[in-house]
């Protein structure tokens, strides 16, 4: 029983932190820019399959390939902004449909070029040993991913709450017109904020990829986690997202080790639904991200 408790405690931290990293960009896009970016799921795919393409197919080194894939993620995000978000700014329902369509197009393209049997594997393991925690042993890469997530959270939080550019990015979504009035280049700032928000999911996905079996449809399950965290957290508030990530992490650790690992996502979804029935606006609905 002590072993199970150790596992649950350790994995609540691991999953919680990791989910926070996965959802960070989505929460920021929702909270800072007020856009429910349903194309966010494609970022996970572009990050890993882009790296694979540059590394395995084109022949670049691993580090160069990772950098190039992050550049690719930024270009993709910018294109989503210019082509979809800007175009459908006044038609939110069309925008949501178009964003999902973009995600599915990316997914199907990847599934065409790299079907599951291709066996994509990216050696981004930073620490491959087991880390002892009480009675449990945790794969070192999970621990690395969890701490990188927390570091990204800290960096992004400082950027958005303490810096001039962070303040301007938080302000633009409040009133486009007022922003232009005070001399802010709205389009450039908005696109830049979206690109900044697209970096954490790319990094976290690259770190998780050696542990999770990659397939072209993995974007949906990871994206589901991002949506769950953001919605349960209150859409855009980072304090809420932190609470939500660790609650979902705990549910998944608890279900995974004490009940049945196959029920992890299902039970997390059900619990989130119940919480939302009681608190429809999530744990911490607020106008600010912190």
């Amino acid at each position: 029983m002590i072993a199970e408790v150790s596992l649950i405690v350790a994995y609540t931290f691991i999953f919680g932190s990791m989910y926070l990293g996965i959802a960070l960009g989505f929460t920021l896009t929702t909270g800072v820019l007020r856009v429910f970016n349903l194309a966010y799921g494609a970022i996970f795919l572009i990050a890993v399959y882009g790296t694979w393409m540059f590394w395995n197919d084109v022949g670049f080194g691993l580090i160069e390939s990772i950098v190039l894939s992050i550049v690719l993620v930024s270009v993709f995000t910018y294109a989503v902004y210019r082509i979809v978000i800007l175009k459908f700014a006044e038609l939110e329902d069309y925008m949501l449909a178009a964003l999902v369509a973009v995600f599915v197009i990316v997914e199907e393209l990847i599934a065409y070029f790299y079907p599951e049997i291709v066996g994509v594997y990216i050696p981004t393991t930073i620490y491959g040993e087991l880390v002892p925690f009480g009675e449990a042993n945790i794969p070192g890469q999970y621990v690395v991913t969890a701490f990188v997530s927390l570091a990204l959270l800290a960096i992004y939080l400082l950027f958005f709450t303490k810096t001039k550019n962070g303040f301007i990015m938080r302000a633009i979504s409040q009133d486009m017109f007022a922003s232009k009035l005070v001399g802010v280049n709205f389009n450039r700032t908005f696109a830049l904020a979206m690109i900044i928000a697209s970096i954490p999911p790319a990094i976290i996905m690259l770190l998780i990829s050696p542990i999770w079996a990659l397939n072209p449809y993995i974007g949906w399950s990871v994206f589901t986690i991002a949506i769950l965290v953001a919605v349960l957290g209150g859409l855009g508030n980072l304090k809420g997202s932190i609470m939500a990530a660790y609650i979902i992490g705990f549910i998944q650790a608890f279900v995974g080790f004490l009940l049945d690992p196959r029920l992890m996502l299902l039970i997390a979804l059900i619990v989130v639904m119940i919480v939302l029935i009681v608190r429809p606006k999530g744990l911490a609905r607020a106008e600010t991200i912190w």
Binding site: K164, I168, D175, K180, V182, G183, N185
Partner: protein
């Protein structure tokens, strides 16, 4: 005096209506120019064209010798054109302090400042307009008089060269209108501003402006000293039925 704003043959149509019709005028540096005219004369449209909210169908706008006709609103703000609105356009979900801070950070000189310096500067502007006590109040919770002051504080925080004031008296009681009027005159002197002031109410403009432009049905029908302009038959005709003449 050097000419700051030069508007030539400016025309803007909305469907079949010509809101601004072949309007040309100049404003010199340091002038305080009133723009008057009955409702629907095209005053606000003209200000919208100058501030970059609309682009004209025809004509040219020059600011300090630079052609700004095709510039975006944010680019014009950076050059030094600030404005206020008849219905104040502040950000309701942000505090009064943050609204002014945003203007400082967005402006050209804001790039040189740290967040702390910009915050302190925002306090200075709030204090100037007597809004210090309201610094942490959400702009959406402010009264109309306070909103007018906040808009002026925000406009001034951009360190503009030209300030366009659109009906700053609307919705204010006589005492408040008097206070706002005094403030505009005061900041003009202290900050070396050039002001173009739209007002539906003539009394204020007659007292404050050195020159008055009169619009009617989209056209500029008079341009001169206030006391001379109001004697012109076409101006009197335009205002027939209007109580304030």
């Amino acid at each position: 005096m050097i000419e700051m704003l030069k508007v030539s043959n400016l025309t803007k149509r909305f469907g079949g209506i010509i809101a601004v019709n072949d309007v040309s005028f100049e404003i010199k540096k340091g002038e305080i120019v009133g723009l008057i005219g009955p409702n629907g004369a095209g005053k606000t449209t003209l200000v919208n064209l100058i501030s970059g909210f609309y682009s004209p169908d025809r004509g040219k706008i020059e600011f300090n010798g630079k052609n700004i006709t095709k510039m975006r609103m944010d680019e014009r703000a950076k050059l030094g054109i600030a404005r206020t609105f008849q219905n104040p356009r502040v950000i309701p979900n942000m505090t009064a302090h943050m609204n002014v801070l945003y203007a400082i950070l967005g402006s050209e000189h804001g790039k040189e400042l740290t967040m702390t310096e910009a915050g302190a500067e925002a306090i200075y502007y709030l204090d100037l307009f007597g809004l210090l006590k309201k610094r942490d109040v959400l702009a959406g919770d402010l009264a109309i008089y306070e909103l007018r002051l906040l808009e002026l504080a925000r406009a001034l925080a951009l360190r503009p060269k030209l300030l366009l004031v659109d009906e700053a008296m609307a919705g204010l009681n006589p005492a408040e209108a008097e206070a706002v009027s005094k403030l505009i005159n005061r900041i003009r002197n202290e900050f070396d501003l050039t002001i173009m002031w739209i007002e539906h109410v003539l009394k204020v403009i007659m007292r404050s402006a050195e020159r008055v432009l009169v619009m009617h049905y989209g056209r500029l029908i008079a341009d001169g000293k206030p006391e001379e302009v109001v004697k012109k038959p076409e101006v009197i005709e335009a205002y027939i039925g209007e109580e304030e003449v």
